[in-house]
Amino acid sequence: MSHNTRSYHHVRPEVIPLLADGKLFSEGAKAPTRAAFAQTVIELGHANPDIVVLDADVSKSIGTNKFAAAFPDRAFNFGIAEQNMFAAAAGMATAGLVPFACTYAVFASLRALDMVRNSIHYPNLNVKIAASHSGITPGPDGVTHQGQEDLSIMRAIANSTVIAPADPDTTVLAVRAAAAYEGPVYLSFTRDPVPQVFRPDYPFAIGRAVTVRDGADVTIIAMRDLTAHALAAAANLAREGIDARVIDCPTLKPLDEATVLLAAEQTGAIVTAENNVYFGGLGSAVAELLVENDPIPMKRIGVRDTFAESGPYLDLLDKYGLSYGHIEAAVKSVIARK
C-alpha cells in the first residue's frame, strides 16, 4: 500500500484505505449533514433556553420536527411562508432569542433573500439560517430544489458568515460554533448522504481552513461534500506520483487567507472544488485572493453556467463535472501550467 497515514490529518483511519478508486462512496459509512444538524440543535436547545427553531413546512425533511417534539414551546412552524419566517426570526433576535430558521437552500437564499439581507444582515441580527439541500445534493428533486447558487449569494452580503461543513461529525462542530457566534450565520447542509470522513478531533473554528492531507505539488481546496472527492482524487493522484495537498474549507466567509496563501506559496498551483456554481463561491474567493497576492496556475471545479436535472446524487456530480475524476483532471492541467 502506498498510503502514508501520517500525511493525513483528522481523517478517520478506516476511511484512508477507501480513498483510492472512490471506494469511499460505495463502501464507507454515510449520512446526510442535515441529520447531524437536526441532532445538534436539540443538544443546543437543552443547553440554552433562548434557542428556538423556525420551520417552513419541511421540518420532517430536515429533521427539526424532533426539536419540536422535545421543545414544543420553542418550535414555530410558519407554513410555506419563508419570507415571513426569516423576518420573524429577525424580530425574535432583537428580543434576545437565538433563532435557527430552517428551510431549503434555494428558498433561504433566493425566495426570502430580501428579508435575509435587509432584516437580518443589515441590522446584523443573531439569526442562524439553516439551509438544507444545498448544492445539487437533492439529486432526484431536480432544479427547483437544488440550491446551487446559495453560497455565492450569501457570500455577497455584508455581515455574512457562510459555513458548509464536509461531513456529519464536522457538522456537529459547525452548528455548535454557529450558536456560540454572535451575528448572522448561514449554515449549508446536504440532503443526500455523504461519507463520514473526519475524526471528532477535527479543529473546527469559524474562519479556519484545515489542511487534511499534506502535499507539495499542488493544493486542492474543497468544501462541503466535495472535500471527500478531493481526498479521493489525491489518493488516485498519489499513485501517479502527484503529491496533492488537500485543504477542507468549511468557512467560505471569512476565508482563511493565510492558509490559502501559504498553500499557494508552497505548492505553486491550486484547484478549488465546490458543489456550487463556479462563480461567486469558493473558487472565486480563492481566485480573488490569489490574483491580488500570488497569481499562480489555478482551476475551479464547480457547476458551470447551467442548471442540473433530476438524477442520483453521485451520477449528477459526475455528469456536471464535480466528482473526484474531474478534480484529478483539473489537477493535472494546473500542474502542466506551473
Binding site: M85, A87, G91, M92, A93, T94
Partner: protein, 281 residues
Amino acid sequence: MAHVPMSVDELKQMAATVRCDIIEMICTAEAGHPGGSLSATDIVTALYFRLMNIDPANPRWPDRDRFILSKGHACPVWYAALAERGFFDKSHLGTLRRMGSILQGHPDMNKVPGIDMTAGSLGQGLSVGVGMALAGKLKQKDYHVWVVIGDGESQEGSIWEAAMSAAKWKLDNITAILDRNNLQNDWHVDELMPIEPVADKWRAFGWQVVEIDGHDMDAIVPALEGARQRTGGPTLILARTIKGKGVSYMENVCEWHGKAPCQAEADQALGEIRRDQEVQL
C-alpha cells in the same frame, strides 16, 4: 422634555410640533418622504407620548414596548417623535440623509437610539413584529408590539403571510395600524392595485378590526388603548388618513410622496401647521 403620558389636547399640540419637524428636516435634507410621514403623524405621536411603555434613557430596555415603522420611508415622523421624546438631541434632525448622519434615508436600528427595527424594504415589519410578539410570549414579558404599515405596502404578499401567522398564534400583544392614506408612489392605491375590501380581508385573516379617523386624537387614543387591552388575538386599526395631512398643497397630492419642499414651500407649510395648532388651543 415633554412629560408623559399626555392628555389628548397636549397630544394635538405635540403632533403639530412633529409635523413642523418633518417639514424642516425634509426641506433641509432636500429629499425625503413628507406625504406618508404627515399621514402617520397623529398615530405615531399618540404612541410615543401616551401609549408606549418606553424609557428614552434606556432605549434597549428589554421590557419596553416595541414600535416598527414598516413603511420605513416615512421615518421623518419616527425621527421627530424620538427626538421630541428625548431619545436623542434634536440637533440631529438637521442632518437627515447627510453623510455620517445617524438619520439614514430609511431607519437603521444600529444608528439611532429608539429605533427598534431597521426598515425600508416593504412588507417585512409586520413579520418582524410577529417575531417580537412571539418572543414576548415565550419570555413571559408583557410588552406590546406596535407596527405601522402602509396601504400601498399591503400589496406585498408577505404582509398577508404575517397576518396569517399572528392569528395562528393568537398574538394579542401585537397591534398593526394601517395608515390608509390612499396614495402610493406611482398613483392611487385602489386604481393601481386595489386592496379593498381591506377591513374584511383583515377580519377574514383572523384579526379584530377597528376603524378610525387617523387624524382624530379623540378616536386614536381609545382605539390604541383598546387594542392593548384586548386578549385572544391581534388587532388591526384601520386608520383613515390623508397623505400630506396639515399642509394644504400636499394633501391628497401623489407627487408629495417622495418630494422635498423648497424653503418658500416649507415656510408656507410651517405657517399653516402653526395656525392650525393655535386654532386648537
